[in-house]
Every structure is written in C-alpha cells, then in structure tokens.
C-alpha cells in the first residue's frame, strides 16, 4: 500500500515537472530551436542581460506586484475590520458577495469589464491614452483585494473581542487599541494576504493583457514571444524565475522548520 502511494505521488510529480524539466533543458540549447536539442550552450542566458524589453518588463512586473500588494493589503485590512463591524446581516452578506466577485468571475470578464470602464472614462475626460501604469495598478489592486480580505477576516473572528474592549477601558484611544491589540493578533492573516496578493499579481496575465496599455508586464511579453517563434531565451528567463522561486520557498521552509524547532526547544526548556 505504502509503495503504491509513493509510486502515485512520484507519478503526479513527474506529470507536474516534466514540462519544467523540458523548459530547463532547452534553455541550454545551442540552436534557436525549442524542439530539437543540438548541444549545450549558455548563450541564451548571457543574451538575457542585453534584452532591454524583457528587463523593462521585469521591472514593471515587480513595481506593479509590490505596489498593488501593499496598497491592497492596507485597503483590504481596513475593509475586513470594517466589514466585521457591520451589524446588519443583509448588508454584510451583500458586501461579502460583491467582494467575492473578482475572485469567482472568469479573469477574462474581469479584465474586459475594467478595460471598458477605463476606456469609457478616458473618452469622457478626453484622454489621448486611457490605459497604462495606473489602470493596470488599479486592476491588480481590485483582484487582490478579496484575497486579502478573506485571509484577514478569519483571524479577526478568532481574536477575542473583549481584548479590544479591555484596552479601551484601560484608556486606549480606538486607534491605539487597534494598533496595540487587534493588529498583532491578525498579523499572520495580513502577511498571508500580502504574500498571496504579491504572487497573484506577479503571475497575472489575462487581466493585465486587457488593461496594461504600454506598461507591459513580463507575462505580456512572454505571451507576445510565444506568438512569435519562441526562442530558448524565454525558457532561460523562466528557468531563472523558477530557480529563484524554488530557492526562496526552500529557504522559507527551512527557516520555518528551524524556528519551530527553536520554539519547541524553548517550550521544552520552560517545562523542565
């Protein structure tokens, strides 16, 4: 049974990583083909450093991902606190349903509806160009928000409401009570939301495709490249991204295990 289960896991992992392996292999191809391997070369990696379109797009992606993650975290955390305070059940339900729309809806519909809005507003105020940095930022914040809100709300519910009240009774201003009492207890939810928002934004293609204008992010560039002849340089870039993510996650995992061990050790010490 155990062997069977291991075998199955191995098969699924093989399925998940076969294309990744192919991609890494062909990023080292010495010819321009991504189908026929003709020899080992690192030329595509050295070529990346000169590919300004790609580097620009990478910068755009990072700027949008960082800004949209931060802004949606601030806006979303505030929203979660506010929504939890709403007493009327119907109002709350309505707000929550609207919140879930960008998450549940097809990306293509979200992207298109936003594009229509931006173009409509652009025409209304007579802009020559209605799509660009701000529109893609707004779009990313919009689809990030529900993920932030929905990861903060459960933490808010777990927080003891009396704690905040006690703080108020002890003379804290509401603001101070929020920062001193509520915020620390929901911080894990906020961080989860922030990370989720960041990664979603990093990887988004469909919504950016309809709203970014000139401000092309990396997935858009990759899309344009796959419309042409894909060359191993696209694979090389993706391999680099893959390795970065891989290393970061392993590091995160190791650190987490370490800190858990430390905590366990501390608990053990305290007990003895």
């Amino acid at each position: 049974m155990k062997i069977l289960s291991r075998l199955y896991i191995a098969l699924i992992i093989l399925f998940l990583y076969a294309p990744v392996a192919v991609m890494i292999l062909f990023s080292f191809n010495s010819s321009v083909s991504v189908w026929r391997f003709s020899g080992f070369s690192t030329r595509w990696y050295s070529g990346l450093a000169y590919n300004t379109t790609m580097l620009n797009a990478l910068e755009h992606t990072l700027v949008i991902a960082l800004l949209s993650a931060l802004l949606s975290t601030v806006l979303g955390t505030a929203a979660a606190v506010g929504i939890e305070a709403i007493r009327k059940k119907i109002t709350k339900k309505l707000v929550m349903s609207v919140t879930q729309v960008p998450m549940m809806n097809a990306d293509i519909v979200t992207g298109i509806s936003l594009m229509l809005l931006f173009i409509f507003i652009g025409k209304l105020i007579g802009l020559d160009e209605s799509l660009g940095f701000f529109t893609v930022l707004i779009a990313h914040i919009t689809f990030n928000l529900p993920y932030v809100i929905l990861s903060v709300i459960p933490k808010l519910r777990q927080t003891d409401a009396h704690l905040a009240e006690a703080a108020l009774d002890l003379g804290c201003t509401p603001l101070k009570a929020f920062f001193k009492v509520i915020l620390p207890s929901i911080s894990t939810g906020i961080v989860t939301g922030l990370i989720m928002a960041f990664t979603l934004s990093l990887d988004d293609f469909v919504i950016s495709y309809f709203t970014c204008g000139h401000y092309q992010t990396l997935p858009i560039i990759i899309y344009n490249m796959t419309k042409k002849s894909v060359k191993p340089d696209t694979y090389a870039l993706s391999t680099l991204i893959f390795i970065t993510v891989f290393v970061l996650l392993i590091l995160y995992n190791v650190l987490q295990t370490k800190s858990e061990k430390k905590r366990a050790a501390a608990v053990f010490k305290a007990r003895t």
Partner: protein, 368 residues
Amino acid sequence: MKKLLCTILILTVLSTLFLSGCGYQYADLDLRAEFDESLKGTELTVYNWGEYISDGAGGTIDVNKEFEKLTGIKVNYLTFESNETMYSQIKSGGISYDIIIPSDYMIERLIKEDMLQTIDLSKITNYDLIAKQYKNLFFDEKNEYSVPYNVGMVGMIYNTELVGKDIEHSWKVLWDEKYKNMALNFNNPRDAFMTAQMILGQDLNTLNKADWDAAADLLKQGKKNLQTYVMDEIYGKMETGEASVAPYYAGDYLTMLENNENLAFFYPDEGTNIFVDSICIPKNAKNYQAALQYINFLLEPDISTANAEYIGYASPNTAVIENKDYCYYQNEILYPDEADMPKVQYYHDIDADVRSYYENLWSEIKLY
C-alpha cells in the same frame, strides 16, 4: 583544468556572436542626414510588427539603441501581430503611439477614418531615397501620410525533405490530402481568404458577398486538411519539420532558410498578394517631432540595409536595392525580374459592411 573550462566558455559565448549567416555586422554608422539632441529626454513610442526591426541579435545593429544614442530620445518599442489588432488598439483610444507601421489597406482605412497625421516631408531629408515605384500608391496618392518601410509578396514555403521537390505551384496544395495535417494556413482573415480567393480566381477586394461565401466554403472544406492556423509560430513549425507546407511572406522564408536549408519557396501560378508596409504617425501621437526624426533615421542607408538584411523583406529604399554588399542584392525571390514576377493584387480597404461580413465568416470558419 579550470582555465580550460573558462576558455571553452568564452569560446562558446564568442561563437554565438558570429553565428548569423546574413546580418549586417556592426560598424560605425555613416549617417547621411543630420540628427541632434534637441529632443533629449523625451519619449517615443513605436508600434511595429513582431521581428520587424534589426535588434542587435548576433552582432547586428540595434536600431532603437542607435537612435537613442544619437538623439537622447527614449524609444518605447512595442509589437503587434496583425493589422487588425493594431487597428483595434488605436481605435479604442486605449493607447497612443508615435509611430505605427501598418500595411497599405489599413493605411487607407486609417486615413479614411481620420486617424493619421500628415508627415512633414521637408523634415524627412532621406525621403529622396525611396524608389519611385513605391511613391504615390493608391492608399496615399499624395505621399502625405506614409513613408514606405518594406515591400513583400505572399508565397508558399515547403520542406523538400518531407514533400520532395516536385510540388504543384498552386495554393491548392493546402487542400491536397497528400499534405494532410502537415499544412498550415494564416491565422488572420484577410490572408487566409486570399489563398481561397486566388484559387477561385476572385478579385481580392470583391464587394460581392456571394464571392466571400464561396471562399469561406472552400476554407471550411480545407480546414480538416490543415494542421493549424498560425502567424509567427510558423518559424518554429517550418524550421523543425513539424509542418511541411505553408503560405507566408517571402521575406520570412529567407529568415527560415537560414535555420533549415531544406526549405524551398514558390509564388503560386494563380497569383498572389503584394503589400507595402509604411511608416505613419497617428493623430494622437504625443511626440510628433521625434517621430519625424525616427522616420528619417529608418531611411538612413546603413539602417535600412541593416533592417533589410535582418528582416529579409524587400526594401523600397534605393540605397539598399543598389547596394552590392547587401546580402539579398538582386535576390530572385525578393526582387524578381519582370519575366518571373507573379500576378499580384493589392488589398484595398473594403467598406465596413462587407468587412464585417467576411470577419463574421471567419468566425464561422474557426467555429466550423
């Protein structure tokens, strides 16, 4: 040992620089017109076809970078893959561009819809280099709105290793069961319809809806014979032998030939489409003066030659055509002499009613 490894590494890196077969190698630019830095710090947004400018790969000239170096203007370079996508972007008002490079019939439409600015030719000092036969064409009779960039014709590319040398010189090969699942066709309505229209002997610009219906029926019949509809993905498919016959632009064939010497080319006997892609400035351009400088720069003999060699299309620029060092000098595919010249037709802008009729038919074919 380590040293050896380093040497090998350096050699592989260096060898990539000299790999390219046909490509204008970098030398100091010899400029004909004068450029200054008066617009330094401004931005210029260029919207061009994919793979349609010399970009510095393999030691060729990086045209945009050279322009930036020369003028201090920052070039924002973006690409599109069909006239229709480009039109859609500009028409929606979502994005503004300073330079666009549409084809003839699209320029005709853009002028009709008042979406282009006139180009001040007094500032384009290199304009005299444009060959006479590419001036005063139907879409811009007074040369007010466009400056020719490239010229081309559509033909059939085939892989001699897979299908042999003996092939009927006709568009009909796309329908031939011999090439089932190995044939490709265009993934844009105008060019795909052209292949069927030529077989049917139609005028490419017919306003008769029954003609379009007949062409659409023929395309539907041919769909099951095709492997897929492609645009620039054709490079990979033809170069690796994934597909064996496909119609595409002659200049692109020459690029593919560099990667697979078994590819051959013919212009079908039924005739084909000829096109001119020209540089234009849209109405909502933000940096008109920089756009003029850019156009003038593209016409520079060195730059034009670099582009012509990189892109592989025929050039309308006499400084290129008459340059004996140009690697496609008197190339028989790009510049056929009168005897070998195929029967050709231009696309014209078709009025909106018939246009939406055939675009609708195209959806039908795709859904068929």
